[in-house]
Symmetry: C2
């Protein structure tokens, strides 16, 4: 905690200041936009960008993470509070803060229980499908705001303003960095400058509204933005705790997942170590802070953190500077912000989430593993059809489902000896010799509840094929663990083979597996021998038979 402050070096300051400034300028339109996605008044997005990053700087473990509002979490917030309170109402604000409190408490609890392994419940393809689905939902939801009315009958002035801003932002996204570079700006500065396009378009929109008669033509604006810092208090609605529990759990889970995946990518670039349990604590504290300051659930945003990093952030001081600047913005007169036209804000939202429409992972999965590609598609479709909350559940179910499905078809090889050597290989891939009285199977999977039955079935199947086998050797060189379910199944197999007069032998059991098996009765009751190597097993079982024949 605060290690970075103890070892702060003066040469880190310029980078932190520039990053703090840049991110603050990104944060104003983004915070307001994501508050609107969540169904809240725009100023809440700025509230959620002040205290949470300060608290995260105290407890989190990432140096460059930018904690604050984030599109997907805002969508989940909207899904949770939408059915309970009308968008923009005071109750919606109270419930959003309460939701942040629940998520924060969940995250803190998981952190205290050291449950950082929860970050491993989503596969990358599933996460990607979830992100793309959410992005499409967010963009689709903004269409009426972009056009000033529902699609078939747009409000012309709003539509022109919205679509115009959208085009400008798309062009800026595509060409601005290159153009700034050709103008002689250093590449890093040009890249960062291009990221400020949303702020420029927002300022342009405000100027247009104040200089022209667009407001009179019915273009909606954000309306009065309350000046002054958020009050520190915790208003909760006691009758809604029950309804917020499950969404709070899911949001807490996704806050952690989204933040970790972003922070990990950056930590790898900076060669830093991220401690998942610290992250849980940092994000939990940040969400509680958001609840206390009238905000809504927050997380680390990959896109914003990347800008923070690129703009030179060396330590969380950058985030503190961002927070201080946003606080200053709220202390200054905020009248100008009230003129921000909604269609322009909708355009910034759409462009931001279009950046999340990443299909590379789907393409890789399609080439490499169709199962993962299907999981991608099913998760994306789940979010589109059943909503973002169902999407999280579907995502976890599919990640686990593909895992168990794959486990249920383990690779098992019948081994034979490569003539004249000590080497034993899969007889399907090598010209290896087998003997009818000894069946040797190499199990190429860790044994656990998910594949126990499949392994059992395969063993029985091979025993049926090799009817003259009176010894079965399980070669365990690729088995790294055996869980209780598999231990019980092995014991039962041992009993069953004993009754049938077939010996069960184990070979090449690994050290850690052996250490564990010593705590069980399997080895004592084994109807056969424990061999160090497959060659040993083959030789000795051969000799025993020769002796028996004599």
């Amino acid at each position: 905690m605060l290690q970075w402050l103890k070892h702060y070096r003066r040469d880190q300051l310029p980078g932190d200041i520039s990053a703090g400034l840049v991110v603050a300028m990104m944060m104003i339109p983004q915070g307001m936009a994501y508050a609107i996605v969540a169904g809240l008044s725009p100023v809440v997005g700025i509230y959620a960008s002040i205290l949470p990053p300060i608290v995260y700087a105290l407890f989190g473990s990432s140096m460059t993470q930018s904690v604050g509002p984030m599109a997907i979490i805002s969508l989940m917030t909207a899904a949770a509070i939408g059915p309970l309170a009308p968008a923009g109402s005071a109750l919606a604000g109270v419930l959003a803060a309460q939701l942040a409190l629940v998520s924060g408490a969940v995250l803190l609890l998981c952190g205290l229980l050291r449950m950082g392994f929860l970050a491993n419940f989503f596969s990358r393809p599933v996460m990607s499908g979830f992100t793309v689905g959410s992005a499409l939902v967010i963009a689709y939801d903004q269409l009426p705001t972009l056009l000033g009315a529902a699609p078939p009958h747009p409000h012309a002035p709003s539509a022109v303003l919205g679509v115009g801003s959208l085009l400008l932002l798309v062009l800026a996204r595509q060409y601005l960095a290159g153009w700034l570079k050709r103008c002689g700006l250093p590449p890093v500065v040009a890249d960062i400058g291009a990221k400020l396009a949303p702020m420029a378009v927002v300022v342009g929109g405000i100027a247009l509204m104040s200089l022209t008669s667009l407001a009179g033509m019915g273009v909606r604006t954000t309306g009065a933005v309350a000046a002054g810092l958020p009050h520190l208090n915790l208003a909760t609605s006691s009758q809604h705790w029950g309804a917020l529990l499950q969404p709070g759990l899911l949001i807490g889970f996704m806050v952690f997942l989204l933040s970790m995946s972003g922070a990990q990518a950056l930590a790898q670039k900076r060669n830093e170590k991220l401690v998942s349990n610290h992250e849980l604590m940092g994000l939990g504290a940040a969400n509680v802070a958001s609840a206390l300051s009238g905000g809504f659930p927050v997380t680390g945003s990959l896109s914003r953190s990347a800008v923070n990093f690129a703009a030179g952030a060396n330590t969380p001081l950058a985030s503190l500077i961002t927070a201080a600047l946003l606080a200053c913005a709220l202390l200054l007169p905020t009248g100008w912000l009230s003129l921000l036209p909604m269609p322009v804000l909708a355009a910034t939202i759409i462009v931001a989430v279009l950046g999340m429409l990443e299909l590379d992972i789907l393409r890789t999965a399609w080439d490499y593993d169709r199962g993962d590609a299907l999981a991608w598609a099913a998760t994306c479709l789940g979010v589109l059809v059943l909503g973002v909350e169902a999407g999280v559940v579907i995502g976890v179910a599919l990640s686990m489902g593909t895992l168990i499905w794959r486990a249920s078809r383990p690779h098992i090889a019948v081994l034979g000896r490569i003539a004249g050597t000590e080497h034993f290989r899969n007889i399907e891939r090598y010209p290896a010799e087998t003997r009818p009285e000894v069946l040797m199977l190499r199990i190429d999977a860790n044994l656990f509840f998910g594949n126990v039955e499949a392994v059992n079935e395969r063993i029985e199947c091979e025993l049926t094929t090799h009817r003259s086998a009176h010894d079965l050797v399980l070669v365990m060189s690729a088995v790294n663990s055996i869980d209780t379910t598999a231990l019980l199944a092995l014991s039962e197999l041992n009993q069953s083979l004993k009754q049938r007069g077939i010996g069960l032998h184990l070979a090449e059991v690994k050290g850690p597996v052996m250490d564990r098996l010593r705590h069980s009765s399997l080895l004592r009751q084994l109807n056969g021998t424990l061999f160090l190597s497959t060659a040993n097993a083959s030789d000795q079982l051969h000799q025993t038979k020769d002796v028996a024949l004599l």
Copy 2:
């Protein structure tokens, strides 16, 4: 389908007839008892024992499975319909049948989609904890019926009758088989005879009620049992589909799990093959049949199937005979059944579920793997505190949780050469030699989304320890699969190492893994070499360096 009928041999008939008779005599008290557990009138339990086993005989794959009411599924049925309709009401009957329809449809759908791998979602310790928790809930729920009133103030005549029956049944369970054997009965007959104790106690109870004045003293009986076969029709309550969907899904899942675990144990004894997708179809069709004949969710019962098997069942004809006998019982006058005293029925329920209080698995897990023992305890506690439906969800979550938790701490060994040999071993367990410029890591786990981050962290950690390493060799001899998430992570590691001037080499990649990697760009972009063996890698990386030094 019906393969067994085509190849039916006359010598199989005596066994099937005796098993059919024995199971029918077990089924009458059991069916009525489990209907009461489900909150239904007793005759529903007999209805659910007629058509479902007939249909299962057509579609299922187990030869000796006895499909019908089962304690845990009845408890789940009660949990699902209890909040919607009063116990024993007509609506409760309709909802129970509707629930069987939903479960049956879910099972048929899973069967059509060939999702037999769903049976692998529960670890044995979790299943055992779930069973024990359910048994305790069922037994506890029967206490008021056993004593004729809530515990502090029992109804004396009922309590004497109930506790007396309970004692008789417990004694019979413990000593009857042995006593019958000493009386000269063959062991198999004695064991089966002991299983009919509940039927004998039920008949005794009825006799007592009709011969004494117990009924006048306020001992409750089952009341009129409608004679005649169930009508084939499907009454559903259209407003309750939504409320029954989730319980129906969970019940379908547990029907499959419970039936499979029982059937597998028997199939192993008979050396038969069970096809999980056929089982899904058979159980699905049986539940739809139960819905059509006014029953409730049914499954294969391990205890009853074991009796069926022990009594000589060779084919599903035994179940057909049981069903025919039960149908006959309903066609005869059923007045005598109406005298069955409820405390006696409660006693049979309690003794039946006491047989499910199996602590062996907990003991094995405690000695072998504390994590699995904790999962046992948490699932059992979950059922007791939060109920049986939550218990299923907790069970799946804990099975998956332990899996991901274990995956998040993969075993990775730093390898060194055993001096003067071609063998490379874990330097922590063997006196092996390493060279500072080549770091060799053997990854002892399949690479997938659950352990990708842990593997990455460990690699970075080892690279930090071995600062002078300019080549990293990943020895993949124990890696049996790499999923898309892990492929992406390996590609990123490759990029990152390239930038840092460290070569990434792979050695001993297995055939199936190699086949798959050829569909990706990793091998093409690899910042290093693919070696057949670890020794190759060590030798060649050594030579390269020597050449470079020259």
